[in-house]
Symmetry: D2
């Protein structure tokens, strides 16, 4: 049984599919939990024009966020064994110069060179069991981390984004005069699961972290934000910090991005992460360009992450499990069954991350 | 005698001013050539709101591009001697963390921390003679370089911009698989003096270099572009390269910037340099953000340059003098006298760089 | 009461000293735990020629590893409050270009520009109470971390060393073709407290980690090494890994360093950290130089760390407390009273870190 | 006709060899000038144990420094044409992670993965004509540069070494507080051709440059050193600078290296480049390690260079041709014929670079 869609048209079905029955040097694995994200919903709604079925299939197993258990891995794999928990990676290496060094997140020809499980030309992870090459599996060492590890895939994006932040901030002295980031402001646009994971990471740097959105938050999200010592404001009603050093956008909304780029400090950095097909257009003015120039501002898109970032993500999730007194667990707001396909169609109010228990 | 204006109102006058008559540890220097740039003209036209007179003066000597000769430098300066040619720097150090390490081009508080000769709160260089601290003077070692050194100030901006390019390109493998940039395309928007200097530098990297504008070029500029093995096209009439790896904007025009950001390759980089108060607004769409994200594109403003960049600029100008068979000299399209104040009001057709011989 | 010595002569005394009785904008703090390290013992034994008393004192309070509690911090400090736990930093900023940006660990003139608490010209932390500027105090947010935080000072050295590793490894592609460090070998020479902290950190990178020494280890250390999934071998009796990617020396022994530099892989990195006044000389041959050159090997010393590294150290200690199932606590092998001055004279067999409870 | 040797035994012969007679997609090229270096002489003397003949040959054409002219390049090569001057590269790509991105100079498995023309398993360039893939050829654009381009191969080593310097100096603020290197001292051990090329490059950074050796220099070398504004001293007789910021060794002599590492400033950098099989052993002491650690010193080997560095080398040689008023030409101290095989056996007194005119 598997959850399938058929891009670019969309749809969702929980049904029996034809499964491979031999391993070909691969590992046989079964999902334990899978996460649901905006990309899945966009695909199902038929709003993801770049998604396409695997060659020779008229459907695609959906889902690229998963923690799985190894059923069988054949002989002679010293690193991973049956029973181990693993995270399968989304994007699979092509042959471009960046893929060659294991950085398919930086693929120089992503339109042609790579596939992405559950998105572009490769089956995803919502399937009773499936086969994958050991090189695509990241081991979860701590078995108490199984459910939380469902957040590894979204968290690996955060790791990649902060790698970019580290590179961009090397343009000048970004840190304060005590060598730390404690007097720096990070503003995160959006209050979804990625926004929260960005907030956790910006707190690791010691920054003062603001989340913002154009509406108020219900109680539960506010409690998480307070619990991790961050701040929230509704930017339609309130003024946030005067100056921002690091801006992270998870909204994909051009108007919000430009509003806050205009509050970046000298040598400030904006990381664009969120995409939103439905966002209305905004203005880009000569003054915007002038502001970016005079302030030595850098803006960078960040997509995906490499195996390195998956490993870092697991490490930080493990840390946050303890350091946040369990608040990190509250990011998982609902656990569903595979047959609850409605969860792919409608986002529950105040969802942070919905997951499926297989 | 000096050329003065009075920002933010503007105006231009060639008249006698009160000169300091003692050195206070400074060097006494006289301009040999000064360059005229868009900032000067904007100031005179009253279009530079952030410009302001030096404290206690109701005027400001204009001009921040100059090559000067040292008249007197007092005792015990081992590095610079009377008769030497020097370039005075524009921006003067404040106390912020970046100024402290000599990187006032990255000043963390440029609204308050620094002054800029001929622009913000400090006299410029169009004055019969003036006094400046040795630490603000860059020596020109090769006396055959005097006139060409007038381009040092604009060229130092190019050096800083490529420093940023080097940092941003470290996000991934940017070079081709032979370790060089020879298969990379650089597109430069604009065909003024800065655009040409950017073109020289991109050629140093071995890139294929395109300049573009929304009109055709007269013969003389076309000959320079061909002479340095670059290409030009009028983007309103012709299609340029399909994909760009490095985009440099000297136009300050949001529509042009967004048009070409949309042609950046994976891991592409855009350097914003040109400002233009009069540029019409353009659109920024959700698709634009999506494109930047999916392609791991980085966009960075770049302003000013440090002493390091002035020194590099002199070195490259010297190199280009020889390697371009003298074509670099053609960037200086007109030599005027200080009393020709009209040159500050109207840009001659096909001007690249107009200079004043003192 | 305080533990004092008088360098360069040495000695140790637990006795009453004259205490300042006003705060002068400083915080009044008391040590909760202090750590004892080789530097302290060398000082007391009169083997640290560069140590010297604070100006105007004929003694120096010893000790630079401490976790303290704030007794009083005056008004208006929003960041630190009475009752908070803090780590005081060792090295205090001078005026050189690196100190100016809060990187006194990279002081360009450490002979003259800085002081070091308990080592060079400034009192250390083994004193009933003392006064320190808030800028020298790093807050420990998690009160369950108090005792373990005594390791912050030694761990901050590890953070700085890995910062250097990150810079040096940017000379080439150091990671494996899956973007991770999982197929890389790290060898650590030595089995003292710093060696163990380096091992924890190298495991964070996912490397295979070997510790080595020229003797066997007793049971307790072996259990820790196994517990954190590292390996140990006695290099006088056994062969370790054929090739090393990252070598970290905590021994200060030239013969051991050169033995293992000769096993570094192409693009390998050696971090020198340990010093040892009594180590016998070794050889440096033309073949050694040739090996370093042909293999593009980089060797770097690493001393001290900045506030940034103290903060990172606290973060990682907190992580390791949980991820190692408490094994990190076993690094603290003995708790003493201030009057147990003998602990400064003789290192107990199998000591990893001895601390004093105040 | 070709100059051949047979490593590891050695010998030199100018004789007829069997030449390939078809191109196989390669370019047919003929050497115009070839350079002779210490590696050639060591090979001929039988002192290069790692050199070996190409597979299936009992000889190897010697020589890896050459400027050549293209005789035929087949069809459809847009970049290089018959008549063009080109530099063939020495080291040919393997399949390791660094070779894959065109950085065979950083080959992760150089014992097995790469070949080197005229050194390891591949014919060199002292052959009437030969065939090479276009990807191994670097074009010389300026035909007045032909003879001087013989220095491209040695100069590319300098470019790679300064790339490493740039990476290592990012550990701290290395520049002076005016952002430049003008107050930094560079000391170069040795006075051969590589030493001179390093001196030219260190002058590009604006450093004060010292060359040193353990004997006096004859007139001609002294004139070159003065001409490029460097300083020389015999370190057996005179004291050089108190403190060094950048040390470059071209001698391969451990005693000289350690003598001057001990004079490195805080955050100082040593680049090891020269190898010398006959150098006597020296001491490495605990104090040496301590000095390296306390001063945050980094030492790195540097071997070979990539295509990027060959291109940079040509650019700088072109620059130096003009900026040094022709002094760069004096580095070529003798021009020989292929039949003058004696020049491979004995180094003329005061040789800097001997070349062969084909």
């Amino acid at each position: 049984m598997a959850l399938t869609t058929s891009p670019p048209g969309g749809g969702i079905s929980y049904s029996r599919i034809t499964m491979a029955d031999h391993m070909d040097g691969k590992a046989k694995i079964r999902p334990v939990y899978t996460g649901i994200c905006g990309t899945d919903r966009a695909e199902i709604a038929g709003h993801l024009p770049f998604a396409y079925n695997p060659t020779g299939q008229n459907y695609m197993v959906i889902g690229h966020e998963a923690v799985c258990q190894v059923i069988d891995i054949g002989e002679n794999n010293s690193r991973i064994r049956p029973g181990d928990y693993v995270i399968p990676i989304v994007r699979r290496r092509g042959t471009c110069i960046n893929c060659r060094i294991g950085r398919q997140d930086n693929c120089s020809d992503a339109d042609n060179d790579i596939t992405e499980a559950g998105i572009r030309g490769a089956d995803g992870f919502n399937s009773e069991y499936f086969f994958d090459s050991p090189e695509n599996l990241i081991k979860v060492n701590d078995s108490s981390m199984v459910m939380l590890s469902t957040l590894t895939e979204p968290a690996k994006n955060v790791m990649k984004a902060f790698e970019i932040f580290n590179k961009l901030s090397a343009r000048s002295i970004f840190e304060s005069e005590d060598s730390t980031y404690t007097s720096k402001n990070c503003l995160i646009i959006g209050t979804g699961s990625e926004a929260f994971l960005y907030a956790f990471m910006a707190r690791e740097y010691g920054m003062t972290v603001y989340l913002t959105n154009r509406h108020r938050l219900l109680e539960e999200k506010m409690r998480i934000i307070e619990g991790i010592h961050c701040l929230f404001y509704n930017y339609l009603e309130e003024n946030g910090p005067d100056k921002i050093d690091l801006l992270i956008d998870t909204s994909g909304d051009p108007a919000a991005v430009m509003k806050f780029v205009g509050k970046l400090n000298y040598n400030g950095i904006a990381i664009l992460f969120g995409t939103n097909g439905a966002a209305p257009d905004s203005q880009l003015t000569g003054n915007d360009l002038n502001y970016i120039i005079e302030h030595n501002i850098a803006v960078s898109g960040s997509v995906d992450g490499s195996k390195k970032h998956y490993m870092d993500a697991i490490g930080y999730l493990e840390k946050w499990k303890y350091s946040s007194s369990g608040i990190i667990n509250k990011l998982i707001t609902g656990i569903y069954k595979p047959e609850d396909t409605e969860i792919f169609r409608a986002k529950p109010p105040e969802e942070i991350k919905s997951i499926i228990k297989w």
